[in-house]
Symmetry: C2
Subunit: 248 residues, 2 copies
DNA sequence: CGCAAAGATTGATCCACGTCAAAGAATTTC
DNA sequence: GAAATTCTTTGACGTGGATCAATCTTTGCG
């Protein structure tokens, strides 16, 4: 494998896979045309840094494909991931001109970027964008708060189970809800990245995954492919309410 | 002390102490008049619950005076505070009709509430409100992410120092920045509430406060009054960068 | 192919923080 | 003003997860 990205063919909003979920979700055709004038696409290989915390940032944008991480690092190197950016998630903050967090491509990613200044100007005139961004930000805030409970109060096993449960649920909703057969999905993160996300060490992550496997809660094919024979069982292990503590 | 609140005299937005910081910060006079028609004041004694997670919520609103907490509880009783609501902070989410978290008055509080339905309608027509709410939500998201680093990666001592540092900074900015003499302020929370905020037990909180006192980082007058002789020293103990890791 | 590098597992040991328990302030109640 | 209640401190002890270290597996590359 070349491990090199093609220069992404400029797409049209019309066939954008995240058209209905991103900041531009509510935009009318004419608004999309305006956005089109200030947008450009960028690709990053897995492992590359999109931007460092503190760096000047002259764009905002959306993840179109792939996964990126948002992380904070302390002086001595301890790091905490504060968000996982999935397709349609928004990067950057209008009104701020330096990045608050490190953004790193976890897999190969493609982003749709808007030049910041004109985007900000457009936001003032286009309620559809501000409305959608508010909605997305409120959702992120809920996710961050759910994560605070996980980081502050859950055991290592519960943290792993919670994370797997989220992945399982997301995949199930993507590939249409299959009754309740076994769920199968891939882990998008290395053990180390999972550790940074869950506030653990990579050794503890590895041990707890092994423990869940030993206890029959999950099965592994290779290191990265998980099957969950009984989702309710996994859910119990996560420490959340039966209904998944769903918010919205 | 009677421990009973006077029925709060209905105020006028004109002399509202949080007029320039709350959701209504950007509103024009006519917009305030509109808001006035759908608003009402409510008071809660310290310790009272404003609303339980899952309860139906037919209002949104702002904290005017006092402090409230936003918390999540697991089935077995473990709880994690996910936010501290200070004067001008917003409660509730437009578009959602049940509370996502327990809201509890930490001190006696007064709130300015808006009936949810008409507030939502008004938000659609009044960009000033939506704009301000977006800004406030982005700030809260940053605060939540800073807290994720604290919960996931900081030691107990660093957690306490970080919390004290935040309180000290807030008080300093309230009472005009005094050169760099010793800072003095009160702890608004019990040891248990601090524990729930910091993801610790109350015993650990007590021990670490004692340790910081023993090491001369802080002094105590009574249980709740703290003086910080050297702010930089406290800051170092918090594990944050010299500049406080300030975002905006 | 065979070597290097990255990722993952597993074991042995340590210690920061939780748990359990007692007792000392401070505040409220009658 | 004594008793009850709430908040806090402190001690003794146990443990979950971190740390240190070795080995294994997988993948990429000359």
């Amino acid at each position: 494998m070349l491990n090199q990205l093609d220069n992404p063919a400029p797409r049209d909003c019309g066939d954008c896979p995240i058209r209905h979920r991103a900041v531009c979700a509510r935009c009318e055709v004419d608004e999309l045309e305006q956005l089109d004038k200030i947008k450009y696409y960028r690709s990053f290989q897995a492992g590359r840094t999109v931007i460092w915390a503190g760096d000047e940032m002259d764009f905002v944008g959306s993840v179109i494909t792939g996964i990126a991480s948002l992380a904070q690092t302390m002086e001595d190197g301890r790091t905490q991931m504060v968000g996982l950016l999935l397709p349609s998630d928004f990067v950057g903050r209008p009104g701020r001109d330096t990045a608050a967090y490190d953004v790193v491509a976890v897999s190969d990613i493609v982003m749709c970027c808007f030049r910041k200044k004109p985007f900000e100007k457009m936001m003032e005139q286009t309620p559809h964008i501000a409305q959608r961004l508010l909605e997305m930000t409120l959702d992120e805030l809920d996710a961050a708060r759910e994560w605070m409970l996980l980081l502050g109060r859950k055991t290592a096993r519960e943290k792993i189970a919670s994370f797997l449960s989220i992945l399982a649920r997301r995949n199930a909703s993507l590939h249409l809800a299959q009754g309740d057969g076994p769920l199968v999905f891939d882990l998008p993160l290395t053990r180390e990245a999972m550790a940074d996300y869950l506030g653990l060490t990579l050794e503890t992550v590895s041990r707890q995954i092994s423990a869940l496997k030993r206890d029959g809660v999950i099965q592994l094919n290779g290191k990265r492919n998980v099957t969950v024979p009984d989702f309710d069982r996994l859910q119990e292990e996560s420490g959340d309410d039966a209904d998944g503590g769903m918010l919205s």
